[in-house]
């Protein structure tokens, strides 16, 4: 029973890392970026590439690099394509899906279709034993990374000028623009950060197993569910939803099996939306839609 707790938490950690990027791009900007999964993949392959230079410590070194790589990819995507589609989320979805297809194939052409491994640093070998519960250090690292990211994002959103501008643009684009906020630049930065976080998530995922060109897509559906359940653009919503979904997943899996767990999680979200159709936390607004 208790042994499922750390498993649930570590699922939650990975989910949260991915969902954090989505709270920026989807939550703040309303862009359904299907290529988000490929930014995750790009982050993971960054760690793989850096192995040549940093060998065992690649994961640590990759964190900032992957943030930049994925962030820049996001920035390019925003500049050349997504910018034309603001206010038309469903078209963006289709467009970015095309981008995601192409990026996956690029990865296949560069790195080959088979999965590759990234060696975890030696100081992450072993596990922490608490009574009957053993948690691998890699899992602890993912959880810690998720917590660190949440804190950093919270500070950015609530304690920095840029973060304030970002929230202003999200709440009322026109009024923010009237008040002198250059909304275009805010959009770029927001998208950069959101995509960069996907890269960080990708690095973290290399600790959970081999990585391949479709790494990101496997997690993306669940991560979107986290954002939907948590409430659009709500940091605390994303945290709570990720933990809840991770726990639910791990416990249902424990009692039945993995395939039933997915169905139960889906049913639970539909049921939850009956009570709170807009997710856990809702930004109050007088807008109609």
């Amino acid at each position: 029973m208790l042994s499922q707790l750390p498993i649930g938490l570590s699922i939650a950690g990975a989910l949260l890392l991915i969902a954090l990027g989505l709270t920026f791009t989807f939550g703040q900007m309303g862009v359904i970026n299907m290529a988000h999964g490929e930014f995750i993949m790009a982050g993971a392959y960054t760690a793989y590439m850096l192995q040549g230079v940093f060998s065992g410590q690649a994961v640590l070194a990759a964190l900032p690099v992957a943030f930049l790589v994925a962030g820049l990819m996001g920035l390019v995507l925003e500049r050349f394509a997504i910018r034309r589609f603001y206010g038309r989320p469903l078209d963006t979805l289709l467009l970015t899906w095309g981008v995601s297809l192409v990026l996956q194939q690029v990865a296949r052409d560069i790195f080959g279709a088979p999965n590759v491994n990234v060696t975890a640093p030696s100081w992450l070998d072993g596990r922490l034993t608490l009574g009957s519960v053993a948690i691998p250090y890699t899992r602890l690292f993912i959880m810690a990374l998720a917590v660190a990211c949440v804190v950093a994002i919270w500070a950015y959103m609530n304690r920095s000028k840029q973060g304030r501008r970002m929230r202003a643009v999200m709440q009322n684009r026109e009024l923010a623009s009237c008040s002198g906020v250059v909304t275009e630049r805010v959009d770029q930065l927001t998208f950069f950060i959101g995509s960069g976080l996907a890269g960080v998530a990708g690095v973290a995922l290399t600790l959970t197993g081999p990585i391949g060109p479709t790494l990101g897509t496997n997690y993306l559906v669940d991560a979107f569910l986290v954002v939907v359940a948590g409430g659009l653009g709500q940091l605390r919503g994303a945290v709570l939803a990720a933990v809840a979904l991770g726990m639910l997943q791990s416990y249902v899996e424990f009692w039945t099996d993995a395939s039933a767990a997915k169905v139960v999680v889906f049913a639970a979200i539909i049921a939850f939306l009956q009570v709170r159709p807009q997710g856990l936390f809702v930004m109050r607004s007088r807008a109609l839609t």
Partner: protein, 375 residues
């Protein structure tokens, strides 16, 4: 405009659609069977099956604004209902389907039992998708969950469905799905006559379902649907309940996907999770977007064209096809958001504007005013 010319215009307008419909029907019913060998004919039947599912998406998404990324689920429910019946007829009165024996199942699961009855199985082809879609529709649309949220939920449904199918090997055949059919309502699948027969059944289904969809779109109900797509709240303020309309249309599109799946099984000879997941479901939607989401014929066309292109190009260059598909797709969304069906209109607009500019230098169009494309 006099009554006479108005009548004439109406007639030519009506006449044109009629001519196109009849010529396409002739092409499919007479020319194609004569010109194509049974193998190619069977491939065309496969594309047409997928086009039926695309038609359903055209109805739900193009007309109703419900972007469903989970049509594979309904396609699968129809397909499995058909596949289960075929497997049971092959197994005989007390036998087990072959894959169950392999995975160590000794007794026929209770849920399989009624599918022995062909009437029940064929009814389930439509009933199962409709029930699931109605349940989801009622729960989701009534809570005014829509747009991107709905898209994500339908995608999650597809993901969960496929994982469940794969996880329950003994019940569903797992990753392999249901395949190796050798008795399709008394016909042997490899025979040319079987292929031709099912081709004609599929073509007739396409024609009938197209007319049904067209009837829905042209009715008052269809007007309401388009109105909901373009301004759901306004329709609500007028006293209608958008949730009901959307649920009915979503269920209709699910039924079409179910029929498509059921026809796909005898035509292609397999139904498996790989055909139903997140990616195939999006691919169907993509086909509709490329064909033209605002036109039912465009949806059908897209379904056939995209799947034809996939087969043709992935035969010759399996990796290149993905670049083509992705690139084509990005291009269509950027340049022609209304797809192939909308292209004629777009070009017409462009030509007309050019001509107008040449004859009389009209004032420049207001900057920043773009044509609105409903999402």
């Amino acid at each position: 405009m006099s009554a006479l010319t108005r009548g004439k215009a109406l007639l030519t307008g009506k006449y044109r659609g009629y001519v196109v419909f009849v010529s396409v029907a002739l092409l499919l019913l007479a020319v194609a069977p004569a010109a194509l060998d049974p193998f190619r004919l069977s491939l065309l039947a496969k594309y047409l099956c997928l086009a039926i599912a695309a038609l359903g998406i055209g109805l739900a998404w193009g007309q109703g604004g419900m972007m469903t990324l989970g049509q594979g689920v309904f396609f699968g429910l129809g397909g499995y209902a058909m596949g289960m019946h075929l497997k049971l007829t092959e197994a005989g009165d007390n036998g087990l389907p072959d894959f169950m024996t392999w995975s160590g199942v000794e007794e026929l699961p209770a849920i399989w039992e009624p599918f022995r009855n062909p009437v029940f199985a064929l009814a389930m082809v439509v009933v199962l998708p409709v029930v699931v879609a109605t349940a989801l529709g009622v729960l989701v649309f009534r809570q005014r969950v829509r747009g991107a949220y709905f898209a994500i939920l339908s995608q999650a449904l597809a993901a969960a469905f496929v994982i469940w199918l794969v996880g329950n090997q003994g019940l569903t055949g797992g990753t392999n799905g249901l395949t190796n059919f050798y008795d399709i309502f008394g016909m042997y699948p490899e025979e040319d006559s079987t292929k031709t027969t099912f081709y004609f059944i599929v073509v007739i289904a396409v024609g009938v379902l197209y007319l049904v969809a067209r009837h829905i779109v042209r009715s008052r109900f269809g007007r309401l649907l388009v109105a909901i797509r373009d301004g759901e709240d306004r329709v609500r303020f007028l006293g209608y309940n958008p949730a009901t309309v959307k649920t009915i249309v979503f269920a209709t599109s699910a039924a079409m996907a179910g029929i498509a799946g059921a026809l796909y099984v005898p035509v292609v000879g397999i139904i498996s999770p790989a055909l139903l997941g997140v990616v195939p479901s999006i691919e169907l939607l993509v086909a509709v977007a490329i064909g033209g989401r605002f036109s039912l014929a465009g949806a059908l066309l897209g379904g056939v064209l995209m799947n034809w292109a996939r087969t043709t190009f992935s035969e010759s260059m399996p990796d290149g096809w993905i670049y083509i598909q992705g690139g084509l797709f990005i291009l269509v969304i950027l340049v022609a958001p209304k797809g192939i069906a909308g292209l004629a209109g777009q070009i017409g607009d462009l030509v007309a504007r050019r001509r107008a500019l040449r004859t009389a230098p009209a004032p420049a169009p207001e900057p920043g005013v773009k044509e609105e494309v409903p999402v």
